[in-house]
Structure formats: structure tokens, C-alpha cells
């Protein structure tokens, strides 16, 4: 190869490279401008104030696996279970930018109830729940190996003879409130034993250390071979096929309890983010509503063995209403939940 040829090819290469770089720079310009206006242009961070591997994790992953297609971005989840959710809300979500790129995925029932019992240092009003994802009622369940307690009537009858130990996730929990209310109404004596989470509660009931347990139904309904759900704190039995033995507490005992949704998971955001970026907020809410009707979401939920029937969209107004009403019940039973009665 001659020097000339070398020169030529080098020049050609430089020309080509220059042209490519120029074209690239030009082509990037409008794209960057378009990105500046578009939302989202980066991943969305989700703060989960519970442990990885639990119901919230399952629920959040199923939802975001479909939402990402509508929002055209990915989600990054971080789990901050400390201090009954306060670390997630206060330390992490609290310090995150109010730019609509940071969301929290909380469980309105137990978290709000906890804050009634122990006032947090942050202002609850600084967050807004923007979409409720599910509605999972509190239930009472027994181990299938329990030979004495097979139905809710057995439980109440036995509870009138002796104090029964009830495994619960924590004291300040909608399902725990249901048990307290039932005991107060029927005269049965129930001793709530907090076992720190659904897994430990199921273990307590399965191994016979607890007489029965109270949890969100979703946490037990997948374990039909081990447990029988015998009562539900809702208006109706939402899953008659899967909770065949479950009576509706209000109907059975003539009580007037409001539905106690022990699982009421919802996405939340800082109010400041909505005020600063209403356009972004609109993109978020518009796309997330599409998820509920997307067949892929139903498929994802069913795959996790969670009941599809519990999935229901709750608007920000619905969420606010729920927070108010769970706060009111918490206030009513505050003394029992704090051991001051």
C-alpha cells in the first residue's frame, strides 16, 4: 500500500469520523431537548417501608412490572423496614427530592394505625397516597392441626372458658383491632401476642404456640393446606371459594364494625412534588390507572398466587378517606394497643 493510499484512507477515515460525530451531535440535540420536556427521563425510585420478600414486595413488583411498560421507564425498589415504617417514610422518602421520581409504597392500614399509637416526627399531611392497589381484609385463622378450634364459634366458646393466645403481626394492626372488638362484643377473652410479621405469626399458629391468629387474608389464603380462615372483617366474604369456612364477623355476631383492611397498599408521593410538577404527577397517575385494566397485570398478580379480587383502584380521595377512618378506629382502641388499660 502506497503512502498516498494511506493518506487517503486516513483522510477518509477522519472525514467519516468527523461527519459521524457531527451527525451524532446534531441528532442528539433535539433528542436531549425532547428529553428535557419528557417525563420520566430516569428510573423511578420506590421506597418500601417493609422488608423485602413480604406481601408488599410481591404486590409492588407485580404492579411495577406492568407499570414500567406504560410509563416507559424502570423502577428501582429500596426496602427500609425500620421503626414500623418510619425509617422508610421519614429518613428515606422524607429526604428524597420532591420531583415525582420518588414514590413510597406503603400499607395504609398498619402504618397509619402505628402513627396513631406513636406519633411520628413528620407531618402525615406532607404525603399523599395517590393510588390504592389492593384491599385485603383482616381475617381470623386456625391451624388445620388444631383439633379443638375449627370454627369461629369454637373460638368464641373456648375464649369464654379460658384466655386464648392470638398470634398477630403487631398490636397496632387492623386485624388485631378486629380481634379486640370481637372479644369485647362476645365476652371471649383474647390475649394478643405480637409476633413481628406475617411469617412469624403463621409459624406461631402452625406450631401450636398460638391458639389462633389474625392477619391480612392474602398472607394466609395461599396456605390453605395448613390453615383454615374462619372469620373475615369485611362487608362480605370476598373469596367464598378460597375461604369456605369464613363467616363475616358483622353478620355472624350482629356487630357493626367497619371493614378492617389489614392490607391497603398504596403508592404515595410528597405533596410538594405534586405542587412543583403537576405535569409529571399527571403522567404518573394516568399511566398507573392503565395498569389495573392491563391483562398483563392480572396475569402477574395471579402468578404470585395473590387473589385478583383484592386488586382495586382507590383514588387519592378514597385513600384519604381510608386514612381518616383507620385513624379514628386507632384512637378508639389506643389504650388497648399501648397496654395502658
Amino acid at each position: 500500500m502506497s503512502d498516498h493510499e494511506n493518506d487517503f484512507s486516513r483522510r477518509l477515515f477522519l472525514k467519516g469520523a468527523g461527519a459521524t460525530a457531527g451527525a451524532g451531535a446534531l441528532s442528539m440535540l433535539p433528542i436531549q431537548m425532547a428529553f428535557a420536556a419528557a417525563f420520566p427521563e430516569q428510573n423511578i425510585q420506590i421506597f418500601v417501608p417493609t422488608r423485602a420478600g413480604g406481601g408488599a414486595d410481591r404486590n409492588m413488583r407485580a404492579f411495577t412490572s406492568v407499570w414500567k411498560n406504560h410509563l416507559k421507564t424502570n423502577f428501582e425498589a429500596g426496602f427500609y423496614p425500620g421503626a414500623a415504617g418510619r425509617v422508610g417514610y421519614e429518613t428515606y422518602m422524607g429526604k428524597a427530592k420532591a420531583d415525582c421520581y420518588n414514590l413510597i409504597f406503603g400499607n395504609m392500614g398498619p402504618e397509619v394505625l402505628n402513627w396513631v399509637v406513636k406519633k411520628p416526627t413528620f407531618d402525615l399531611k406532607s404525603f399523599l397516597y395517590i393510588a390504592q392497589v389492593d384491599q385485603d381484609p383482616g381475617i381470623i385463622f386456625v391451624s388445620r392441626k388444631n383439633k379443638k378450634l375449627k370454627t369461629i364459634d369454637d373460638i368464641v366458646k373456648e375464649g369464654k372458658k379460658r384466655t386464648l393466645n392470638v398470634g398477630v403481626s403487631r398490636l397496632a394492626h387492623p386485624a388485631s383491632l378486629g380481634v379486640l372488638a370481637l372479644g369485647r362484643h362476645t365476652g371471649a377473652k383474647f390475649n394478643l401476642v405480637p409476633l413481628s410479621g406475617g411469617r412469624n405469626t403463621r409459624a406461631g399458629v402452625a406450631t401450636g404456640e398460638m391458639d389462633f391468629g389474625a392477619l391480612p387474608s392474602g398472607s394466609v389464603v395461599r396456605k390453605q393446606k395448613q390453615f383454615d380462615i374462619v372469620a373475615v372483617f369485611d362487608k362480605t366474604n370476598p373469596l367464598p371459594d378460597r375461604m369456605k369456612k369464613a363467616i363475616v364477623v358483622n353478620d355472624h355476631f350482629g356487630m357493626k364494625l367497619p371493614p378492617l383492611y389489614a392490607g391497603a397498599r398504596a403508592f404515595g408521593i410528597k405533596r410538594e412534588a405534586i405542587e412543583k410538577h403537576p405535569d409529571r404527577y399527571k403522567v404518573l397517575t394516568d399511566t398507573l390507572q392503565k395498569v389495573y385494566t392491563d391483562p398483563a397485570y392480572k396475569k402477574a398478580v395471579i402468578k404470585t398466587k395473590a387473589p385478583w379480587k383484592y386488586i382495586s383502584y382507590g383514588s387519592p380521595a378514597d385513600c384519604e378517606k381510608y386514612v381518616e377512618y383507620i385513624s379514628a378506629i386507632g384512637q378508639e382502641y389506643k389504650s388497648l394497643l399501648t397496654g395502658k388499660s
Binding site: G53, N191, L195, K225, K303
Partner: protein, 510 residues
């Protein structure tokens, strides 16, 4: 349950064909296990997209192999640089690290690998064969019985304190006090948190662990040129393959010790919520109790290394039993495995034995095959791994501190935990310099909160009746065994001393 030997043979053969999944998982597990703060549980979460893309059976084999190998990996830094990778390896450096200082790091690693593999393999096979019976353990070990098991572990403080009772007990009680920081399990009332939300859920274990052991060690070693003693250095320079084989031979010579301490791990692992940390401390305490040379523990004693390593690998198969038999995971990793399988549409529980036996039994065969392949993979590495100990402390100390601070951060992703590790490092350093026992502090920090949990739960169940701790027959038997295991060694020790005193004049006369 009838044992279907044909199915087992078929499953073992089938699992071996997945060597291409198991070997990378072993390597990954060894690495994440060796890095403080990382664990099988958080690695499985990180790799969730990958495991979800796999077939359920392959995903399960991958997770099981990762789980088993990470347990062994945690022992490596515990032995070589006094950094237990997880709480389950917290008892490993008690005798492993002194061996390293003496230039016997290679032997210590080989002993640890052989004990882990044989302990793990044996308990996996036992778990597979005796699953219906072993699962019954969880029905009998309730809060009251667990209180006694915790006390078995905590009583190690007393044995550690034997040389300097006052300082040992002060260190132990100091650890227990730290362990009680945080919200109580019943009313969630925060105690001693100094307003830090980060301490609300108790003092996190990994920062305490790496701070007390590793950071304080880094502070201490920087005062010298090497972590090795002069004799240790010479021994390391001469070390070759023979040292690895010596380690293997020594471990095999304690085959009976491996068997019974790994069974302790298996039984404790079956109880949901109990874990490798409890098992390894209880095994260490029992090993010392029944030893003919208890005074050698803590000085680089072979059995002091065999016991915790066999026990914490015994726990691994144990935690799968409650998951598969009663549908309740025995530990965090088992819980995450269950979640991954749920994504695949596999409901984990007793039904699995009927619906998908290749998965239910396959979890155990995968674990057994992992252990079998692991020894071949890891043993040749002992020689090279142990070379890290000859690195000058000028480089070693900053590396240890950097690694441990990252490790402290990883489990909760709280920057606060890095400061906490440093604070524990200072506490550990002061303790070392003043002759207090770091291990006694750590036992209090690890087992104290667990003891409190079970104690408060028992009190809650009995509605405040303290006598509940003597309310179960099994519990009462265990109380008696605890008392025996505490006082018999004291009696034997006195007897030994008396006999040796009597023997001296005879020898002199001769």
C-alpha cells in the same frame, strides 16, 4: 413418609447434570459470603431478574447452591482477618483467627472447609431422610424452650469469663445492654435509642459484628507490621500443599465432633426464627463444655473451629424443613427463596412433595451436590487464600476498614451503620487494650435481643406469670441439661486440678 430410594437416586443424578449452574453459584456464594454485609438473601434479591428468567428447578438449584456456599464463604475472612462475613460466622474467629496468627491459616481454612462440607452434607442427607420427624421439632420448641437454648449460647460468656471472671461478665453484660437497645417486641416502646430512628429496630448485627471484630482488629494490627506472630511468619513462608492436607487430616480426625455439632445446627435450624448465630455459639459452648482440654479454646484450638463451622452449615438444610413441611420459612434466605418460587407459580409448602417432588426433594439434593462439588472447588484455594495474611498491615488495615464499612452499609443501606461500625470498632479496640473480651460483648449483642424476644413473648403468653419459664416438660429437661452443662465442667475442672496436685508429689518422689 415412605422413602423412595429410586426417586432420590434419580434426583441426585439429575442434579449433578446441573453442575453448570451449581459451580458459578458456588463461586458467587463464596465471594458474597466472604464480603461482610452481603449474604445469600440480599444477593438473591439483587439477582431476582435472573432467577425469574430461569426455569423454577434451575432457579431453585442456583439459590440453594448460593445459600450453602455463602455460609462457607463467611468463614474465610473470619479465619484470615477476623472479619466474620455474617452473624452465623461470629464464633468462627474465636479459634480460627488465633490459628492464622500462628501461621496456620491454611490449616484453619482446610479445617473450616472440611467441617462445613461434611457437616452440611451429613445434615442435608439427614434432613432428607428424617424430614417428617425433624419437622416435629418446630412443634415442640416454643418460646420457653427457646429461652433455654438462648441461655446455652449466652452461657458461653461465663465460660469465656472463666479466666477473668469480672471482666468477662462486665463485657457480657455490656453486650446484653447494647443488645436491648431499640423497641421492645410487644408495645414497640423505644429504649436507649438516643433519638436515632436507625436504632429503633435494635442495634444492627453486621455493623456491630464487623466493628467489634474487624475494625478494632484493624486498629490493633496497625501497631505492628504483620498480623502474624514471628513464628507464624516463618511458618507461612514455608507453607505448601502439605499444610492443606494437614488441615484436612485434622478435621477428619474430629469426625465425631463434626457429626454432633452439625446436628445441633440442624435441630436449631428447623426452628423458624432461630438461626446460624445461635447454632454456632451453642455448638461452640457445648464443644468446650465436653472437651477434655477446655482451656485451649480461644487459643487456636482445632475443635473450637470445627464446632461453629459444622453447626452453621447444619443450619442451612434445617431452615428448608419448616418451609417445605409446614410452609413457614426457617430463615430470611428461605423466605426469599419462597418468594422467587411464588413468582414462578410454585406454592411452597407440604403440597410440593406431591405436586412437584423434583422441587421439594430437589432442594435437598441440590444442597448435597453443592457441598460435594464445593470441597473440590474450594480446598485447593486454601493455600492461596491464606497468603493474604502475609500482606503488610500498612495495606491490610485500611483495606479491612474500607471493606468492613462497605459491609456495614450493605444490609440496610444506611450511612448511619458505617458510623456505628466505627463506634463499635473503638469500643472493641478499648476492650482489647484493657483486657475485656470482645467475643463476650458480641455474644450479648447477638443473643441478647433474641433472648428478650422469646422471654417477652413467653411472658405475654402467660400474661405476666414468670413461672411460665418452667411450664413445659421439655423446657424443664432442658433447664436441667443447662445446669449440668454449666456446673459439670466446673466440677471436672476442680477434680482435674485436685488430681494433678496429688500427682505432683508422686512424680517428684520418682
Amino acid at each position: 413418609m415412605e422413602i423412595d430410594w429410586g426417586l432420590f437416586v434419580e434426583l441426585f443424578a439429575r442434579t449433578f447434570t446441573f453442575w453448570w449452574v451449581i459451580l458459578p453459584a458456588i463461586l458467587l456464594g463464596l465471594i458474597v459470603g466472604a464480603i461482610p454485609g452481603f449474604s445469600a438473601a440480599n444477593t438473591i434479591i439483587i439477582l431476582l431478574p435472573m432467577t425469574l428468567a430461569m426455569e423454577p428447578e434451575i432457579g431453585l438449584i442456583f439459590m440453594v447452591a448460593l445459600y450453602a456456599s455463602s455460609r462457607m464463604g463467611a468463614g474465610i475472612p473470619a479465619i484470615l482477618v477476623n472479619i466474620p462475613g455474617t452473624a452465623g460466622a461470629a464464633a468462627t474467629p474465636l479459634d480460627g483467627y488465633p490459628m492464622t496468627k500462628q501461621g496456620r491459616g491454611q490449616q484453619a481454612l482446610a479445617i473450616s472447609f472440611v467441617s462445613s462440607v461434611f457437616g452440611g452434607l451429613l445434615t442435608t442427607i439427614l434432613a432428607l431422610l428424617a424430614m417428617p420427624w425433624l419437622s416435629q421439632v418446630a412443634y415442640h420448641l416454643h418460646s420457653v424452650e427457646m429461652i433455654v437454648i438462648m441461655l446455652f449460647g449466652i452461657s458461653l460468656i461465663a465460660t469465656i469469663a472463666a479466666k477473668d471472671t469480672l471482666k468477662g461478665l462486665i463485657a457480657g453484660f455490656f453486650g446484653l445492654m447494647i443488645g436491648y437497645i431499640g423497641a421492645d417486641v410487644v408495645y414497640e416502646t423505644p429504649r436507649g435509642t438516643f433519638g436515632f430512628l436507625e436504632l429503633y429496630d435494635k442495634v444492627p448485627l453486621i455493623p456491630a459484628l464487623v466493628g467489634l471484630f474487624a475494625v478494632s482488629e484493624a486498629f490493633a494490627v496497625i501497631e505492628g507490621e504483620s498480623i502474624l506472630t514471628k513464628r507464624g511468619k516463618e511458618a507461612m513462608q514455608k507453607a505448601g500443599w502439605a499444610e492443606t492436607w494437614e488441615g484436612v487430616r485434622l478435621a477428619i480426625s474430629r469426625w465425631w465432633h463434626i457429626i454432633w455439632t452439625s446436628i445441633i445446627g440442624l435441630v436449631i435450624g428447623v426452628v423458624p426464627g432461630a438461626g446460624a448465630a445461635i447454632a454456632s455459639f451453642v455448638a461452640y459452648q457445648q464443644s468446650k463444655t465436653f472437651s477434655k482440654t477446655p482451656e485451649l479454646y480461644g487459643t487456636g484450638h482445632l475443635e473450637g473451629l470445627v464446632a461453629p463451622e459444622s453447626a452453621n452449615n447444619g443450619v442451612t438444610s434445617g431452615t428448608l424443613i419448616p418451609l417445605l413441611v409446614i410452609g413457614v420459612p426457617g430463615g430470611a434466605t428461605a423466605a426469599i427463596m419462597a418468594v422467587v418460587l411464588q413468582y414462578h407459580g410454585v406454592a411452597v409448602g407440604p403440597d410440593l412433595f406431591d405436586s412437584q417432588p423434583e422441587l421439594a426433594y430437589g432442594a435437598f439434593t441440590a444442597m448435597a451436590v453443592t457441598y460435594a462439588l464445593m470441597i473440590l472447588t474450594v480446598l485447593p484455594l486454601a493455600r492461596y487464600m491464606s497468603k493474604i495474611t502475609v500482606v503488610s498491615t500498612t495495606y491490610m488495615a485500611p483495606i479491612i476498614i474500607s471493606f468492613t464499612l462497605v459491609g456495614a452499609f450493605v444490609p440496610r443501606a444506611y450511612v448511619f451503620d458505617m458510623y456505628l461500625a466505627l463506634a463499635f470498632g473503638v469500643i472493641g479496640y478499648v476492650a482489647r487494650k484493657t483486657g475485656y473480651h470482645v467475643a463476650a460483648i458480641l455474644i450479648g449483642v447477638i443473643l441478647g435481643p433474641l433472648l428478650e424476644n422469646y422471654f417477652l413473648r413467653a411472658l405475654r403468653i402467660s400474661q405476666g406469670d414468670i413461672m411460665v419459664i418452667f411450664s413445659s416438660n421439655l423446657g424443664n429437661i432442658m433447664w436441667v441439661l443447662l445446669i449440668i452443662s454449666l456446673f459439670v465442667p466446673m466440677y471436672l475442672d476442680k477434680r482435674r486440678k485436685r488430681l494433678s496436685k496429688q500427682a505432683i508429689p508422686i512424680t517428684t518422689d520418682c
